[in-house]
Subunit: 207 residues, 2 copies
Amino acid sequence: MSETDEQPTRRKRPSGRRTGDSGTRQAILGAARDLFAQHGYTGASMRAIAGRAGVDAGLIRHFFGDKSGLIAATLAEGTTAPDRLVAALRGDPGTAGMRLTETYFALWEAPDTGPTLAAVLRSAFTSPKAMDLLRASVGTRIQEQVIGVHGDPERAAGAALAVSHLLGVAIARYVIEAEPLATMDRADVVARVAPAVQRYLAGESGH
Amino acid sequence: MSETDEQPTRRKRPSGRRTGDSGTRQAILGAARDLFAQHGYTGASMRAIAGRAGVDAGLIRHFFGDKSGLIAATLAEGTTAPDRLVAALRGDPGTAGMRLTETYFALWEAPDTGPTLAAVLRSAFTSPKAMDLLRASVGTRIQEQVIGVHGDPERAAGAALAVSHLLGVAIARYVIEAEPLATMDRADVVARVAPAVQRYLAGESGH
DNA sequence: TGTGGAGTTCTACGTTTGTGGAAATACTTG
DNA sequence: CAAGTATTTCCACAAACGTAGAACTCCACA
């Protein structure tokens, strides 16, 4: 009837390998990062990610196995952030809080690291891998650097509180978008938050 | 063979109204609160909620219409929390930070208010209603009380930062369960956090 | 006493989801 | 040039989800 057995003029996209090195793997990771950041782990469907990357969903399976493999690879891409935070702590202890705070918010607003941070946060509630990463970022890395050689466990709590504070402000500003935090200048936010972070890192009682 | 057309001895649960006033509506709200707190809005399915409440899923539809109606009713149950936080701010401004911090963590650990706070937080990413509630809690209510009669907009930022700080620590302690925050005594956490909150509320620059 | 409404269960429909397999095409290596 | 491997598409499946409707039972009120 309406079907033309011979030579259908309207072909679907042909299967098979494309010519040249199509940066498909990277396109998928970029799309996954953006959609995980917007809708979280379960909220971002494989088909939606594939669609944004302009490929078929089967490719995700081919490259990353299953969905948990995809988010693992996605989050592994943006591993530079924790290192830069730890690096910010080295140097004069009297201004470490300022440097840490500055670096933290700069990371959130940089186009290459910000979406990954948002992806971790938004996915944490529904993906064990993202939750582990978030727990580690609040936990070990920074605490080790603050505790340092002396190994004062008293300061671990201070380090955790400093990071928790930064996390809370980031959530309010970038995720919840609560006013006036969301529209304040970054420098203004940093200037107000840094003293509190500094006090936590220094271990002052603060009465 | 195994089917008995006449007089099936094994009856399924009979439909129809139960005798006595079964607090079913409240059972559903309790189950919804717990499951929203554990798995978030989309993560908690209607069937799971109905199952936990010991009723059929159709009942949820009967009482609350659809899923968004259910979470609206669930979150409307625990509306006492914001009021108590605002109330904690009244009184001596010099110790308002301490009272606010104390009240905040007490609410998180009280069996009647804690799960609702967790439900709001975990559902915020996938339910617009929960997100609105969260935004309002970081925003308006507390800011109004802090700004007070004078209407100093400068202090709105301080109030938002104070709440953001509390939110961040609560997330780290109760949701992420990062050490050592998760296992610290509540009094210890409060004692460490309160000074920072106090400074934000007082509007000190803090250099 | 009988009639309507509220509470309650069951079954089912359409959609979306993650996953799996089969086939097609291009590149690579012998 | 032949064989194998990597990339890519399509189709299909089973499960879970929100929602819908029909039927059944009990209570309140006329």
